[in-house]
C-alpha cells in the first residue's frame, strides 16, 4: 500500500482542563472511507475540526499528502480549501442564494471570475440534483436539500479529502437516505473521506475502515466486519450493544 493521504500521529486537543483528544493516531488511505463511531463527547467532531484546521491542536502531527499541516508556517486557507467539511447543522449562509453559497469560495479564495464560478457552481448543484434550486434561499429548502447544497459547496473547491460530521443527525428519517446516497456515490467516484456518524448500517456498507473513538483516542479500528462483528474491546461491545438496543445497528 502506498503512503496514506492522511496520517495523524499523537494528536492532542484540550479545552482548558478537559482533554478531548489524547495521543490519537489515524491513517486514511487515498480513495477510501473511514467511519468514526463513538458516543457523544468521544472526540469525533473535534478530530474533524482539527483536520480542517478549525481548531489549533495542542500537540501531535497531521500530515496531508506528506505535508505537516499543523506547522504554524503553512498557509491555512490553502489547506482548508483542500479539505472539505460538511457540518451537522448545514451552516449554509442564509443571506446568499444557493448558487452564491456554492460560488463564494471559488470567487473569493481561488479568484475565479464570476461567470466561471457560477457555471462551476451550477454544474456542482446539478451533480447533487439541485440545479433547479440555484436561485432559492437556503431557508426555502428542506433539510436534506440544504445538506446537499452544503456538500456541493465543499465539493466545488475540489478537495482531496472530505469530512462529514454527523451530517444526517439533524434530518428527518425520510431525508437521511438522499444525503447518504449522495455520499455513497462520492465514495464510488473515488473521493477520500472521513465520516463521523451514528448510522451504523451505512457505516457497514461504505467503510473500508471503522474507528471506535473513546476517551480521546482510537480505541479500536478495523474493517466493518471486524469492529461490528467481533469487537475486541469491552468498551466497544458496550457501545455497540447500546446502539443495538436503540435499534440503529
Amino acid at each position: 500500500m502506498s503512503a496514506p493521504l492522511l496520517s495523524v500521529r499523537g494528536l492532542r486537543k484540550a479545552y482548558g482542563k478537559s482533554v478531548v483528544l489524547n495521543d490519537l493516531d489515524l491513517d486514511v488511505a487515498e480513495h477510501t472511507c473511514t467511519v468514526l463511531i463513538g458516543s457523544s463527547g468521544s472526540g469525533k467532531s473535534t478530530l474533524l475540526r482539527c483536520l480542517n484546521l478549525l481548531e489549533v491542536v495542542d500537540d501531535g502531527v497531521i500530515e496531508l499528502d506528506g505535508v505537516d499541516i499543523t506547522d504554524p508556517r503553512v498557509e491555512v486557507n490553502r489547506i482548508r480549501a483542500k479539505v472539505g467539511i460538511v457540518f451537522q447543522a448545514f451552516n449554509l449562509f442564509p443571506h446568499l442564494s444557493v448558487l452564491d453559497n456554492v460560488a463564494l469560495a471559488p470567487r473569493r479564495v481561488h479568484g475565479v471570475a464570476r461567470r466561471q464560478a457560477e457555471d462551476d457552481a451550477r454544474a456542482m448543484l446539478d451533480r447533487v440534483g439541485l440545479a433547479a434550486k440555484a436561485g432559492a434561499r437556503p431557508d426555502e429548502l428542506s433539510g436534506g436539500q440544504q445538506q446537499r447544497v452544503a456538500i456541493a459547496r465543499a465539493l466545488v473547491n475540489r478537495p482531496r479529502l472530505m469530512l462529514f460530521d454527523e451530517v444526517t443527525s439533524a434530518l428527518d428519517p425520510e431525508l437521511v437516505a438522499e444525503v447518504l446516497t449522495l455520499i455513497g456515490e462520492l465514495k464510488n467516484e473515488g473521493m477520500t473521506m472521513v465520516v463521523a456518524t451514528h448510522e451504523m448500517g451505512f457505516a457497514r456498507k461504505i467503510a473500508e475502515q471503522v474507528c471506535f473513538l473513546d476517551g480521546g483516542r482510537v480505541l479500536e479500528s478495523g474493517t466493518a466486519e471486524q469492529v461490528f462483528g467481533a469487537p475486541r474491546a469491552e468498551r466497544t461491545r458496550q457501545f455497540l450493544g447500546r446502539i443495538e438496543e436503540a435499534g440503529r445497528l
Binding site: 480542517n52 479539505v83 472539505g84 457540518f87 451552516n91 443571506h95
Partner: protein, 283 residues
C-alpha cells in the same frame, strides 16, 4: 377542490369577534375623546392660558416665519446626511476592530474599546463645546474652524460610539458556526467577516440602527449652540423679535414631521423581517 363554507359554530365565533372588536374600538375612541376634552378644559381654565396661547400658539405669526425656518432646515438635513454616512463607515470599522483576535491586536482592540466607552458616556452637549471651542483654540494650521464642520465632527464622534455597539451586537448575534463554515471553505478572517458575517449582522440590526438615526436627526439641532444658523437658531432669532415662542413650536412641528417618515420606514423594515416590536401582533 371541494367547496368549503364555514360551519354554524364558525359563524357564531366570527360574529362574536366582530362584536368584541366594535366594542373595544368604541371604548378606546370614547376614552380618548374624554381625555383630550378634559385636558383642554384644564389647560384653558388656568389663569395664564391667554398669555401662553398668545405666545406659543399664534399661528398667524408662525405661518409667516415658516419659510425662513424651512430654509434653515436645509442646514440640519445637510448635517444629518453627511454625519450619517461618516457614522456608518466609522462605526463599521470600530466594530470590526473590536472583533480582531490574537494578542497582536490587543492595542487596537483596547483603543477601540476605550473610544466607545468614553464617547458613549459623554453628553453630546459637552462634546460639542469641547470640539467646537477647543479644536479651533489649538490654532492648528489646517484644522477646521467652521462651526458647521466642527458640529459634524462632534456628532460623528458621539454617534459612532453608539452605532459601533449596535453593529457589534449584530456581529456577535451571528452564530459562530457561520464563521466556521466560511473559514472551512478557505476564506480569510477578513473575507468571512465581509462576505458572511457583516451582511447578516447589518440586516439584523437595521431597526435599532434606524432608530439611532431618528435620534441623530433631532440632535442636529444642538449644533446651534456653536452658532450654526440652523432651524433652532433661526427660531431663536425670530423669538427675539417679539418674544413670542411660536417659532420654537413651529420648529418642533417641523422636526416631528421630518422624523415620522423615518420612523414609519423603521417599522416597515422591522415588519418585513418579522420583527414586531413596534407594531404588536396577535400574541
Amino acid at each position: 377542490m371541494e367547496a368549503w363554507s364555514p360551519s354554524a359554530r364558525q359563524h357564531e365565533r366570527d360574529a362574536f369577534r366582530r362584536r368584541r372588536t366594535r366594542r373595544s374600538a368604541l371604548i378606546a375612541t370614547a376614552s380618548t375623546v374624554v381625555f383630550f376634552v378634559a385636558a383642554a378644559l384644564v389647560v384653558r381654565s388656568t389663569p395664564g392660558w391667554p398669555r401662553v396661547r398668545d405666545s406659543f400658539f399664534d399661528f398667524h405669526r408662525g405661518w409667516q416665519i415658516l419659510p425662513g425656518l424651512l430654509r434653515a432646515l436645509w442646514i440640519n438635513v445637510q448635517i444629518m446626511l453627511i454625519s450619517e454616512v461618516l457614522i456608518l463607515l466609522f462605526a463599521l470599522i470600530i466594530a470590526w476592530l473590536r472583533t480582531l483576535q490574537g494578542p497582536a491586536f490587543f492595542p487596537i482592540r483596547f483603543l477601540a474599546t476605550a473610544y466607545v466607552d468614553i464617547f458613549r458616556g459623554l453628553p453630546l452637549l459637552l462634546v460639542l463645546y469641547v470640539i467646537g471651542y477647543g479644536l479651533p483654540g489649538l490654532r492648528l494650521t489646517g484644522a477646521p474652524n467652521s462651526p458647521f464642520v466642527l458640529g459634524i465632527i462632534a456628532l460623528v464622534l458621539t454617534y459612532t460610539a453608539y452605532v459601533a455597539e449596535v453593529f457589534r451586537a449584530g456581529i456577535e448575534s451571528v452564530h459562530p458556526s457561520q464563521r466556521a463554515a466560511a473559514r472551512s471553505l478557505g476564506l480569510t478572517h477578513g473575507q468571512s467577516m465581509r462576505f458572511v458575517v457583516f451582511p447578516q449582522a447589518v440586516r439584523r440590526v437595521l431597526p435599532p440602527l434606524l432608530n439611532d438615526f431618528v435620534s441623530l436627526q433631532k440632535d442636529t439641532s444642538l449644533v446651534s449652540i456653536l452658532g450654526v444658523i440652523d432651524i433652532v437658531l433661526t427660531a431663536q432669532n425670530d423669538t427675539a423679535q417679539d418674544f413670542k415662542f411660536v417659532p420654537y413650536v413651529m420648529a418642533g412641528l417641523v422636526f416631528v414631521v421630518l422624523t415620522i417618515p423615518l420612523a414609519r420606514f423603521t417599522d416597515w423594515v422591522g415588519r418585513r423581517q418579522g420583527w414586531r416590536g413596534a407594531v404588536g401582533s396577535v400574541v
